[in-house]
Amino acid sequence: MDDLYREVIIEHYKNPSYRGKLDPHDISFADNNPLCGDHIQIDLRVDTSGMVTDARFDGHGCAISQASADLLMEMVIGKPLEEVKKLNKQDILDMLGIDLGPVRLKCALLSLKVLKAGVYGLGEASDDLVE
């Protein structure tokens, strides 16, 4: 339980490195977690080779969802979109280094869901994206 609020998570929640918006951007997508009203928007810049050159997230939510978004931005910068598409639940859990119950898992996965819906150019972010 203490693990859930590891220092790194509190730190990324309080002092995120990648909070903000990108204007212009190549990809932008936003969605909510209806359970707790968390909201996340993600903007990406992508170069001609399909590599993510910059990424920002914006929105509000709990420490888990916001820290997860911040760490995810750090992770995808410099990655080709094809690799971003392959990210899944386990990658997020490994990234956070914590175990999560079913409710908080949704908080942790919201940013990945938003990111992948944007990368795939979908109209809606579905839970299937982060299985």
Binding site: M1, D2, L4, Y5, I10, K14, L35, C36, G37, D38, H39, H60, G61, C62, A63, I64, Q66, R104, C107
Partner: protein
């Protein structure tokens, strides 16, 4: 005069259990659902062990016993809310289904495009969405009585809205977020003077206050067993019998009919007209036992105890730097305290409190528009019932200080 709190707590075995890390449960989420006393659990067990049978049709011993218990519970509930007759007590699944019953049966028979329905900004989603659906289906109009900064309804605006001759006014007797106890009698009287029918969402009021249908004069009143020491899966729609008689049936099927031909049917009399299919029999019996339990303790005593705990909780919460409590002062509200803690999301507050066994709710509590009005995505909510104590409030307060420390 006051409650014998230690005796009462013994009736709720769950309050003795511990979490996985050995902390005693501090249950501060009764607004979501109350805990159940052994008297209710045993009444339902006893029914399944001794009397289980389907109701109304059989003539054998068990069927007659089950029917008597099921209908007996209805009588108890009618008496509990001082309805004129038990025919006015329609069993449903919960408050939500009761409101939907009115939206499907009464409203679809009586409302047309352009008709006005007045709601309030502090409604639970269950008293918003059925009306949104009706608005999409047939173009009724919706207006909302605003909520002030202090969390009470703006009755002056309500009076102005009434000049537009609404067909229906539907409002919550007690807010599940702010705890505000609305002046129901006044709202109902004003609505009637304007010629409107009135429905009240009583999900939070019936468990905590003495409510009297004949004194209130509401046309419809909805509530659930599970928030008042009863089981889930059963609720009530109270309706004035003349109105219920005039309404078309809701769901069709067994038990709601007097006679069925291949191409037609005649609906049953009240209350069965609105109760299609085998109902939640054990749950109705449990509901009856819950009403017995609350009656025996006394609703006035319960309300007084909750008031004492709530007043104490408001004082203690407000002394914590960074905590903001929503809703009116203790004299205008029931045992609900929704709050925010500066810099910490309510989900994190709830999760960290849970480590000490403290159960509070975090989120928008099915009242998203109300949270939007206050410009916040979510709140943490601690709520109290007859078994809540000031010691539990103290533990909540220490828990919040721990959260603050963690997020420094």
């Amino acid at each position: 005069m006051s409650l014998h709190i230690n005796e009462i707590r013994k009736d709720f075995p769950i309050l003795d259990r511990e979490t996985a890390n050995g902390k005693r449960i501090i249950y501060l989420d009764s607004t979501a659902t109350s805990q159940k006393p052994v008297q209710v659990i045993e009444a339902m067990n006893d029914y399944y062990r001794r009397s289980n049978a389907n109701i109304h049709r059989g003539v054998h011993t068990l069927a007659e016993e089950a029917t008597a218990m099921y209908e007996g519970a209805r009588e108890k509930i009618a008496k509990f809310i001082n309805a004129a007759s038990s025919r006015e007590i329609i069993y449903t699944r919960n408050t939500t289904e009761s409101i939907n019953l009115v939206a499907y049966s009464w409203a679809r028979a009586n409302l047309k495009s352009g008709d006005l329905v007045i709601l309030t900004e502090m409604e639970h989603h269950s008293n918003l969405v059925p009306w949104h659906m009706l608005q999409m289906e047939r173009g009724i109009e919706l207006e909302f009585i605003p909520v002030t900064e202090d969390g009470v309804l703006e009755l002056d605006t309500y009076k102005t809205l009434l000049n537009r001759t609404p067909k229906l006014v539907s409002f919550t007797h007690m807010s599940n977020v702010l705890g505000t106890i609305n002046p129901a009698a006044e709202i109902i009287q004003l609505a009637h003077a304007a010629g409107a029918i009135v429905m009240v969402d009583g999900a939070q009021s019936v468990p905590h206050l003495t409510v009297d249908m004949q004194a209130l004069d509401a046309d419809f009143y909805a509530f659930s067993a599970h928030k008042m020491c009863g089981p889930t899966g059963i609720g009530v729609l109270y309706g004035k019998s003349a109105l219920l008689e005039s309404m078309p049936p809701f769901l069709g099927g067994g038990d709601m009919i007097k006679e069925v031909k291949l191409r037609s049917f005649r609906a049953n009399s009240l209350p069965h007209k609105f109760e299609a299919g085998t109902p939640a029999i054990a749950e109705a019996i449990g509901f009856g036992a819950a009403v017995d339990y609350l009656t025996k303790i006394g609703m006035d005593k319960i309300a007084a105890h909750e008031h004492e705990v709530t007043e104490y909780a408001l004082d203690r919460l407000e002394e914590i730097p960074g905590v903001k409590v929503f809703g009116p002062s203790a004299d205008k509200k029931g045992g609900v305290t929704a709050f925010t803690l500066e810099g910490v999301h309510p989900h994190d507050v709830a999760q960290i409190l849970d480590r000490d066994g403290i159960a509070v709710r975090a989120g928008h509590h099915c009242a998203q528009p109300l949270h939007e009005k206050f410009g916040i995505p979510a709140t943490s909510r601690a709520s109290f019932y007859l078994y809540s104590t000031k010691e539990e409030v103290d533990l909540l307060v220490s828990g919040i200080y721990k959260v603050k420390e963690m997020f420094g």
